[in-house]
Structures are given as structure tokens and as C-alpha cells.
């Protein structure tokens, strides 16, 4: 049974058009050279892997705690973006710095129902980002919003209707778990992150745009999160490309572009 929540539909989040991503997971096998790197950091169990699954495969499924790390390649326009899912477990903590090396964006993930998971970001994970790019973009993401926020729950109903009601909502429609982390807490953390990175708060992206509350379970704000970040790292890609651009002509690269123009002899 579906229970309509009493929230006005018009207030529901921006709908992002759905894209089918066939063989998304095995894309990594083809070893295309990624143009830019995005890293998900955060304590175990906050839902990093689930967020990536939701985005890449458009569904929520059972996960096992990540071992080591995993990565996905996402085609974004003409660019390949690699997204690293790291392991939150203490045991793999040491690998974090290496994953973050040269990252263009880092998603610091916590669980809105778990205060400690936010605290860990500052205590344990922030220092791992030392190896990231100088101009690395940070996003603070509170996951599992479906447990505390009726708005996030509703996303599922719409999604389910659209997908032919694959998975009927299995839990009560009204959120039952106490929200431990408020958005203001995340915004405050964002400010401290910038200070830690010695970045000028005024010159940086505003906290309002960089703090998200998401639900991997319902898909709430998930597309918005990733796609906002993709768009934000595009300048980094262009910068990197122009730095790397050599006088050598890459025939493979040029072929596609050339064909559209009329040849000089035609």
C-alpha cells in the first residue's frame, strides 16, 4: 500500500532525467583513461557504496562493507570521470591518502542518523585529503535522509511509479529515526574544511550549494549531487587538458571532430 505523504509535491526535489547506463559497472574494464577523479570518503556504513550504486545502476541493493576500494568510470559528455568508492573501515584507513591523490573533488559522506559519522569526517578523514588537488572541490553529504525526512521518502514513490513500481516501499511511510545531524552542522563543518584547506571562504563555492542531504535508498538528491559535482570539475579537466596539450597531433582524438567539418578539398 502506498501512503501519500502530506508534503506538497511542488516542493519535491528537482527531477533529473533518467539515463540508462548499460554495462555501467564493467566500463571500468575497458580502462579508458580518466580525465578527472572524484573520491567518496566517510566512515563505514554511511552508504558510500550505496550512493554510487544508486547513481550508476539506478537501484538500491544490498551491499557488503567495501574492501580496499572500488572505482567506476562515468562518461560525462566527452569526458571520463573516475569515481572512487573507498572503504570506511579503520583497517583500510591508510589507503585513503593514495586514493585522494590528485582528486578534483571529494565527497565527505556521513549518515544523518549518526552524529559520530560526522565527527569522524573531521577527525579521521579530513587529513587524508592533503594529497588532493590544490583546488579540490568539497561536498558534504548526509546520507540516509529517507529515515528522517519525509521529503526524501517521497522521491521513492515517484521513482517507483515511473519504473513500474519495482520495489514497493517496505517500511512505514513516516520517518521514525531521530535526525542526529542537522544541515547547519554540516554547513559549519564545510566552513571548517575550507579553513583547514586554508581556502578563502568567500572565494569558494557557498556552503548552501555544497552540502547535500541524500538517500541512496530512494534516490533523493543523488543525481543532483553527482551531476552538480561533474559540472563543477569540468574546468579542472579543461585546465588539465590544456596543460598536457602537446604540439603532437593525436590522430585518434582528432578523427571524430574532423569528420564533421567539410574537407578543404571538397
Amino acid at each position: 500500500m502506498k501512503v501519500k505523504s502530506n508534503i506538497d509535491i511542488a516542493a519535491s526535489p528537482l527531477r533529473v532525467s533518467k539515463r540508462r547506463v548499460p554495462r555501467a559497472m564493467s566500463d571500468s574494464g575497458k580502462m579508458k583513461k580518466p580525465d578527472v577523479k572524484l573520491v567518496l570518503l566517510g566512515d563505514m556504513n554511511v552508504g558510500k557504496t550505496s550512493l554510487l550504486h544508486r547513481y550508476m545502476e539506478r537501484k538500491f541493493k544490498e551491499t557488503v562493507s567495501t574492501v580496499g576500494g572500488a572505482f567506476f568510470l562515468k562518461q560525462w559528455g566527452p569526458y571520463n570521470i573516475s569515481i572512487w568508492d573507498t572503504a570506511g573501515r579503520e583497517q583500510f584507513h591508510g589507503l585513503g591518502s593514495m586514493y585522494c591523490r590528485n582528486a578534483a573533488a571529494i565527497i565527505l559522506t556521513y549518515d544523518v542518523t549518526n552524529w559520530q559519522s560526522l565527527a569522524e569526517l573531521e577527525e579521521r578523514f579530513l587529513s587524508l585529503t592533503d594529497t588532493a588537488n590544490e583546488d579540490c572541490i568539497f561536498a558534504i553529504v548526509g546520507n540516509k535522509a529517507d529515515l528522517t525526512d519525509p521529503k526524501a521518502l517521497e522521491a521513492e514513490e515517484m521513482e517507483a511509479e515511473e519504473e513500474g513500481a519495482e520495489q514497493p516501499p517496505s517500511h512505514p511511510a513516516s520517518p521514525t529515526v531521530l535526525k542526529q545531524v542537522k544541515r547547519e552542522d554540516a554547513i559549519a563543518l564545510y566552513g571548517r574544511v575550507l579553513r583547514y584547506k586554508a581556502q578563502d571562504e568567500r572565494a569558494c563555492l557557498p556552503a548552501e550549494r555544497m552540502c547535500f542531504e541524500t538517500s541512496a535508498k530512494t534516490g533523493y538528491n543523488v543525481d543532483l549531487l553527482f551531476e552538480t559535482l561533474f559540472d563543477m570539475v569540468l574546468p579542472t579537466i579543461l585546465k588539465k587538458r590544456s596543460e598536457n596539450s602537446s604540439p603532437t597531433v593525436d590522430l585518434e582524438e582528432c578523427r571524430g571532430a574532423k569528420q564533421t567539418k567539410a574537407g578543404c578539398c571538397s
Binding site: 554495462r23 559497472m25 564493467s26 571500468s28 574494464g29 575497458k30 580502462m31 574492501v67 580496499g68 576500494g69 572500488a70 572505482f71 572512487w84 573501515r89 583497517q91 583500510f92 591508510g94 589507503l95 591518502s97 593514495m98 586514493y99 591523490r101 590528485n102 594529497t131
Partner: protein, 869 residues
């Protein structure tokens, strides 16, 4: 899991190495081409020649031949061995000392310079930076001093070129270019010995667990990480691949693309670098060493040596496909792309794609199957051949061998599930359609089109007709029985037509029209056939089927002729005369054909007009002879007749008049008299016999339609005369009616009469009031005529006056013409005295003036301003 990627094959058995001496263990190995060196804990180096051969069962096996063993005389274990085949040297680490010995006789190289002391471990640079082929680069961990030294090893000496210190004591080392990858006591790091730049990788407690550093390719290393991980790191300190998940107790690891092979206490594990999944586990007890030498993975327990032989990639892929693990198989194939020559890869990859497609096809995953068929450039006939009877019997196709799939045919695949069969058929339809519109059907268009035709016919698909009506390569011999079987006779006819067999097509269609064969494709098949015949250029066929068509329905059948494009040739088989003659037995058809000629095409031929008129007449007469008389039809038929009689002036009037002699068709007779200008007869009929005064009035208008007004006047007077004729035998009641008619006529057409002569005709008794409209009308028009002529007269006078004035003006003085004077128009001199004077008295030649008058647009010459008022 469960790809069989490797097989463990024994290489050197225990007996050959240490026999039953229990204390002796293998410490290290080196393999270089066929040469295998084994170092033992009792300070021996054993040298074997390893030959590869295939057993009668087709398995790979090794036989080892012992060439030599050499005691180094130190009672210490031999720790490491490394061959430098270009130099024929073997580097040996024993008792913290590296010695360079001869590869063949294992004797130390003579001079004492070929020896390094205080060494914990060493490695050779497989990506050397110095270009000398007779020199090997080596990195050495100094035993106690927290330094790494770089040496150049020559045939007979070693030379240190660099020494770098490290933050902690290193315990494992690897070298690629200038990059040292080091395991320190608490972490891994990358160190560029040329620039001194370093990069921390990640923490690792080397005390607790033995670290692994392994070069796996250009500037990329594989490292043992906490939690039993195999981590990849580049020289830049970045991970480009996701880690693989080993066990905690891993001892050694190597890469044999696309797999990472690792050894732990009880097992060899095989992970794919492509998806990080564990693919195979082989049990291996007492494992001790796992190393790869030029792509060959060699393992050792403490007592024996084995080779881990990779199964051919294709075998692995086939195994995966057999397990229906399509994605994995494709990933494996794609991953191997750069290790296989391009054309060989293409062939292999295509086949795999095709197989993958068939697996998905079998699972009814049509979208994916289609994509794989397309990418694998599948011969469409492979797919068609799955469907029984679709390929033409004449097709030369045979399925590829070995087969691409396990299905005998569609029935086998569907296991009797009819719904599945249907879905497969729909898929094939869409697939073949696409193949037709792309290159996909190249070389086998006949097979494809024939198969498509059969599918369409069977499925009652509307596109069947489109296929046959457009450019196609359907095989007639194969398709015809199929279409017959499915009662697609109309379609079959189209196919015959496409193959130039119009006669057969028509024969078939005629049988359908006649109800001999059942096919409801077209309810208007008869019309279709007629239409076809009207275009058919084969006249023999047209005549052959025209009779059938006319007998079936004259009205439709005659369209064979009426729709036919008009040819220039008016005398041949298709000339109208010939057709009319042919149509003779079919009265209705003849009539329609003549109508077409006379009314539509407006052919001006007396014969046709007369014939048509006669036919119309006959129709009317035959209708009239029926009882009861069908009034409506008679009216219609007479209208047709009357129209023709009125409109046409080509028919033979006398002939028709003769035919009308004894009939009641008075109106028609009147019209005919009118045609002969026998108006009095006509009006007599209309007024006296028919008593139809409006018709009489109409007659006058019609008969004078294209004549002078006086003609009409004459007719009206004539009619008036008929109305007022006292001598005509008028029935008692008619007199009054005639009077009324006459008055009406006069009043209605007042202007058309000559009032004076009318007045003389009128009986005295008529009141003025009765004729008021006539009289006032007549008066008005008379007045009008009078005034108009007065105006005209005045204008003419005025014009005359103007001309006179001009004339007087021009006659003003004498006009001088001499031989010296030139004409103003042509500028030639005058030779004769005749001349014309232009206004102003200018003399010009007569012919010049005439010329000018002709050229001038104005005919009226007098436009010069007049001084008259």
C-alpha cells in the same frame, strides 16, 4: 567464480633436487628462457634445462634435465638469483653478498670487482635508463645503512652510480626507470633516485607481515596492503585500478594479464584485473615462492618447482560462454585486445560477440543480442537458419563450424513454448528489416528478403505488400508455395508481377475475384485488377482479361479503356474506334466509353456524338417501355439526352429526328427542330403539344444564346405569334392560358420586342393596365435608345467640327516642296511632287507618313490642343 584460467604443471620434482634429504629446502628460483636456476638453503645452485612438450592426452608437461649444480661454499642459504642473459651472467645473493657468476658454468667471474657486500636484497631494472645493452642496472638495499645503491653490472665488474638514503630501513625493492618502489618498515614509498623526489604511498607494517613490491608494467607496481589487499600504484603515487582482495597471509604475487596471481599458505588465487573478482583458486601446499619471469609464472614449494600455465584465452572465454557469463567473457576478450595482433583479435572478438549474441538471444534478451550481432558482424543467415524453412532451399549457406550456439533450431530453443517462438519471430522480423536497410544483407539479399517474406506471410504482417511492391530479391520458386500455403494470393500476384509474370499474376487474381481462391487482403481486388489492366502495356493481356472484366462488371470493366493514357496512335488496337467496336456487346460499357470520349475528353467526332445520342435515346425508350415506368430514372436519362442534344452540334439531327418520330419525347424533338432552325415547329410543339410555356420561353433564350439581339427578337415575336395565333386549333380552355402566357412574355422581356409591331398584333380588348410593365419597359428602352443615339450624334458632330478646324488650320499657307528640301522623317529629298503635310505644314514623303501612322499607337491623329472652346 570458476574460470579455469591456469593449470599447475610440475616442472622439477623433488627427486631431482634433493632426493630424500629432508632438511634441504628451495630458497629462490630464476628462470631465463629454458634455463631454470634453483638456489637452496644448503648453498647450492642447481641449473636445469626445462623442455616443454605435450602429452599424448594433449596436456602440457615439462621435463627437466639437470645440467649442473654448484656449491658456493658458504654453508649459507642462497637468497636471491637473477640472470642477465645479455651478459651471460647470473647474480647471486648469498650471505649478504652479491656475486656475479657465469650463467653456464656457474663459476664466479674472475676479478674481485664483480662483488657487492652488505646487501639485504637487490633487484634489476626491467625498464633501464642507460642505453647500453651490455650493462644491467641493479638496485641494492644496503643491509644496515638505510640506503639504496644503484649499480651498473658489466660482464666482469660492477660499478655503483648512485646512492640514496631512505627515511627508514627498506626491506623490499623494485625498480622501474628512475623510480624505486620501496617497502620501508612502516610504509611503502616511491623514490626517484635521479631527482630525489619521493612520494609516500600508504602505511604498512613490514615487521608484522612480509611486504610485496612487484613491478607489473611501465611505472606501475603491485603492493601488498593492509587487510590482505593487493594495491596498484603508479610511479606518481596514484592508484589506477581498484585493489584485489587477497587473503591476509599472501606470500607472493605476480601479474599475468589480465590476472593477478597470488600465493598464500594453502592456495593460489587468481583475480581478474578487469573486474577485481576472484576467478580461480588452486590448492597448493607448502607454497613458498611465486614469481613471474618474462610472463611465465613459476612457483616453488620448499621441495619442488611448478609452472602455472595459462590456458589459452579463447578456452577461458569459451568456458565463460558455456557458463553463459557473457559479460565476463566479453570483458576478458576486450581486456586482451592489446596482447593480441589486431587482425587475429578482430576475428576472435567477432566470434565471441556472435556467441554472446546467441546466448542472449536464447534468453530472449533481444536488445542485447541485436547489439552483439551487429558489433560481431554476424552473417544474418546464421540467425535465419535457426528458423526452420526460412532459408530458401537454393541457399548455399551452411552454419559456421564450430557452431556459434547450441540450438538445433527455434523449436529446440523454445522447447515448445509458442509464445517464445512468436517473440523470436518478431525479433527476426525487426532484425532483418534493419539488416536490409544497412549493409547487413550484403551478399545474401535473396536469403534475407525471402525469409522476411515468409515471416510476414506467416504473421499476416501488413509490410508483406510493401516488401513486394518495393525493390526486393525474394526468390519466386521458394516464396510461391509459401504464399500459397498462407493464402496470400494477392501478394503472390505481386511477386509474379515483380518477376515479370503478369499473366500468371492476373490469372491468380482473377481466381480470387471469382471466389475460387480465398484471400481477403484486398476487398477491392477487382478494381485493382482493372486499374492494373488500364496501365498494362501488354495489349494481349489487356484483351485477354478485358472480356472477363466486362462480364463481371461493365461499369468498372470499361475503366480498362477509359483510364488508359491516350496514345497518339488513333488507328491501332487501342484506337477509340477499335474499342467501341470491341465494346459493342456491352451496351453499358459502350455508353460509358462514349460518354468518356464525348463529355470528358470532348472529342469532336460526329460518329461518337451521334452514337452517344442514339444510345441515350435507346436508353430512355427502353426505360419508358418498362412497366411501371421508373420515373426517376427516366428523368435522369432524359436529362442526359437533352443535355447532349442541346450542347452538341455534331450529331446527325435528321437521324435522331427520325428516331423520335413516333415518340412522346416532344421536348427533345423541339430541341432537334431548334438545331435545324425550324423554330416555328419547335415552338408549336412546345406551346401547343407540350403546353409548356416556360420551356418555350427557355427555348427562345437557348436558341438565340449566341446570336445577334435581332435573332432573339425574331424568336420572341415568333413565340408571341404562336400564342396569339387565332387560327391555331385551340382548345376552349387554352385561349385564356395563351393570353396569360403572351402577357407574361411581353412583360418579362419588354426590351426584347419591337414595341410598334407588337402593338399592331395585340388584340384591341387588352387593357392598358395588363400591359403596363411591357409598355413602360418598351417606352423606357425606346427612350433610352433614342437618347443614346442623340448623344452619339452630338459627339460625332463635335468630332467632325474639330477635324474641320484642324484642316483649315493646316491649309494656312503654301507648302513648299523642292528637290533640295529633305523629308523631316527620312531626311531624303523629294523626287515627286506628292507629299503629306504634318501638322504645322511640314511636308514629308507619303510613304513616310504612312509608316509613321502605322507605328503610332494612337489611331486618332487629332490630339493637338485646340483653341476652340
Amino acid at each position: 567464480m570458476s574460470v579455469k584460467a591456469f593449470e599447475l604443471v610440475p616442472a622439477v620434482e623433488r627427486e631431482l633436487l634433493m632426493g630424500d634429504k629432508a632438511r634441504i629446502n628451495i630458497e629462490c628460483i630464476e628462470c631465463c628462457g629454458k634455463h631454470l636456476y634453483v638456489g637452496t638453503n644448503d648453498c647450492f645452485i642447481h641449473h636445469f634445462l626445462l623442455e616443454e612438450h605435450t602429452t599424448p592426452k594433449g596436456k602440457l608437461a615439462f621435463s627437466a634435465e639437470k645440467l649442473l649444480h654448484k656449491y658456493l661454499g658458504l654453508k649459507k642459504p642462497v637468497n636471491e638469483l637473477k640472470a642477465a642473459s645479455a651478459l651471460d651472467r647470473l647474480m647471486v645473493l648469498c650471505d649478504n653478498t652479491v656475486t656475479v657468476v657465469d650463467m653456464v658454468n656457474l663459476e664466479a667471474v674472475a676479478s674481485g670487482g664483480a662483488r657487492i657486500k652488505g646487501v639485504l636484497s637487490f633487484c634489476v631494472n626491467e625498464n633501464p635508463v642507460n642505453g647500453d645493452p651490455f650493462c644491467v642496472e641493479m638496485a641494492v638495499i644496503a643491509a644496515k645503512r638505510r640506503t639504496v645503491q644503484i649499480y651498473m653490472v658489466y660482464e666482469d665488474r660492477v660499478q655503483m652510480v648512485k646512492e640514496v638514503s631512505t627515511p627508514e630501513q627498506p626491506c623490499a625493492i623494485c625498480l622501474d626507470g628512475y623510480f624505486l618502489c620501496l617497502a620501508l618498515s612502516t610504509q611503502y614509498m616511491i623514490l626517484n633516485y635521479n631527482t630525489g623526489a619521493s612520494q609516500d604511498l600508504f602505511p604498512y607494517d613490514s615487521e608484522e607481515k612480509k611486504p610485496i613490491v612487484k613491478r607489473i608494467g611501465r611505472e606501475e607496481f603491485l603492493l601488498a596492503a593492509p587487510g590482505g589487499l593487493g594495491m596498484f600504484a603508479t610511479a606518481d603515487g596514484i592508484s589506477q585500478r581498484a585493489p584485489v582482495n587477497w587473503s591476509e597471509s599472501v606470500i607472493g604475487a605476480a601479474v599475468c594479464f589480465p590476472y593477478v596471481v597470488a600465493l598464500d599458505e594453502g592456495f593460489i588465487t587468481v583475480h581478474s584485473m578487469l573486474d577485481q573478482q576472484l576467478k580461480q583458486t588452486l590448492s597448493f601446499r607448502d607454497g613458498h615462492i611465486l614469481q613471474d619471469f618474462e610472463g611465465k609464472v613459476v612457483l616453488a614449494s620448499t621441495k619442488a618447482v611448478y609452472v602455472l600455465v595459462p590456458l589459452p584465452l579463447e578456452r577461458q572465454i569459451q568456458d565463460l560462454l558455456a557458463g553463459r557469463r557473457v559479460e565476463e567473457a566479453l570483458t576478458l576478450a576486450e581486456g586482451a585486445q592489446r596482447n593480441i595482433p589486431k587482425d587475429k583479435f578482430q576475428i576472435m572478438y567477432r566470434r565471441i560477440l556472435q556467441q554472446a549474441g546467441f546466448i542472449q538471444f536464447g534468453q530472449l534478451q533481444f536488445l542485447e543480442a541485436k547489439e552483439h550481432f551487429r558489433k560481431g558482424q554476424l552473417d544474418v543467415r546464421e540467425l535465419i537458419s535457426l528458423y526452420p524453412l526460412l532459408l530458401p532451399s537454393s541457399s548455399s549457406f551452411t552454419r559456421c563450424h564450430p557452431p556459434l550456439h547450441e540450438f538445433a533450431d527455434l523449436n529446440h530453443l523454445a522447447q515448445g513454448d509458442q509464445e517464445k517462438v512468436q517473440r523470436c519471430k518478431l525479433f527476426l522480423i525487426s532484425y532483418l528489416r534493419e539488416a536490409r536497410s544497412t549493409e547487413g544483407a550484403n551478399g545474401c539479399r535473396e536469403d534475407v528478403d525471402t525469409a522476411l517474406l515468409k515471416l510476414y506471410a506467416e504473421a499476416n504482417h501488413e509490410s508483406l505488400l510493401d516488401l513486394l511492391a518495393s525493390d526486393n530479391a525474394c526468390l519466386l520458386a521458394d516464396s510461391a508455395p509459401w504464399l500459397e500455403k498462407h493464402r496470400k494470393y494477392f501478394a503472390l500476384g505481386l511477386l509474379y508481377r515483380y518477376n515479370g509474370q503478369d499473366d500468371t499474376a492476373l490469372q491468380l487474381w482473377a481466381r480470387v475475384v471469382d471466389g475460387e481462391l480465398q484471400d481477403s487482403t484486398r476487398s477491392d481486388l477487382f478494381e485493382y485488377v482493372v486499374d492494373f489492366l488500364s496501365f498494362c502495356s501488354n495489349l494481349d493481356l489487356v484483351w485477354k482479361y478485358a472480356e472477363w472484366a466486362l462480364q463481371k462488371d461493365q461499369k468498372v470493366g470499361v475503366q480498362i479503356f477509359t483510364r488508359r493514357a491516350v496514345t497518339e496512335d488513333q488507328t491501332g488496337q487501342m484506337s477509340p474506334d477499335a474499342i467501341i467496336k470491341y465494346l459493342h456487346p456491352y451496351q453499358e460499357a459502350t455508353l460509358l466509353y462514349l460518354e468518356h470520349q464525348v463529355l470528358d475528353r470532348k472529342v469532336q467526332k460526329e460518329k461518337f456524338h451521334t452514337h452517344l445520342a442514339v444510345l441515350y435515346l435507346e436508353k430512355v425508350l427502353s426505360l419508358l417501355s418498362q412497366s411501371p415506368v421508373p420515373d426517376r430514372e427516366v428523368t435522369e436519362a432524359r436529362e442526359q439526352l437533352q443535355n447532349l442534344l442541346k450542347e452538341s452540334s455534331l450529331y446527325r439531327v435528321q437521324l435522331l429526328l427520325g428516331k423520335l418520330e413516333n415518340t412522346e419525347l416532344l421536348l427533345e424533338r423541339a430541341t432537334l427542330h431548334g438545331k435545324l432552325e425550324e423554330h416555328d415547329k419547335a415552338l408549336n410543339i412546345l406551346v401547343h403539344q407540350l403546353k409548356d410555356f416556360p420551356a418555350a420561353e427557355h427555348y427562345c433564350l437557348w436558341a438565340s444564346a449566341s446570336q445577334e439581339p435581332s435573332y432573339r427578337q425574331r424568336l420572341f415575336h415568333l413565340l408571341l405569334g404562336v400564342y396569339l395565333d387565332p387560327e391555331a386549333a385551340i382548345a376552349p380552355g387554352d385561349e385564356h392560358a395563351h393570353t396569360v402566357a403572351a402577357v407574361d412574355l411581353l412583360n418579362r422581356h419588354a426590351g426584347a420586342f419591337d414595341a410598334l409591331s407588337v402593338l399592331t398584333l395585340l388584340p384591341e380588348a387588352w387593357s392598358l393596365e395588363l400591359l403596363r410593365p411591357f409598355l413602360s419597359g418598351a417606352l423606357r428602352s425606346a427612350m433610352h435608345a433614342r437618347r443614346t443615339s442623340q448623344v452619339a450624334l452630338g459627339l460625332a458632330r463635335a468630332e467632325n467640327l474639330l477635324l474641320k478646324h484642324d484642316r483649315l488650320k493646316y491649309r494656312g499657307g503654301p507648302v513648299l516642296v523642292s528637290e533640295k528640301k529633305g523629308c523631316q522623317l527620312c531626311h531624303n529629298t523629294f523626287t515627286e511632287p506628292d507629299c503629306v503635310c504634318l501638322p504645322g505644314g511640314v511636308p514629308v514623303h507619303t510613304h513616310c507618313a504612312a509608316q509613321r501612322a502605322r507605328n503610332s499607337p494612337r489611331k486618332q491623329p487629332s490630339t493637338t490642343p485646340s483653341n476652340h472652346t
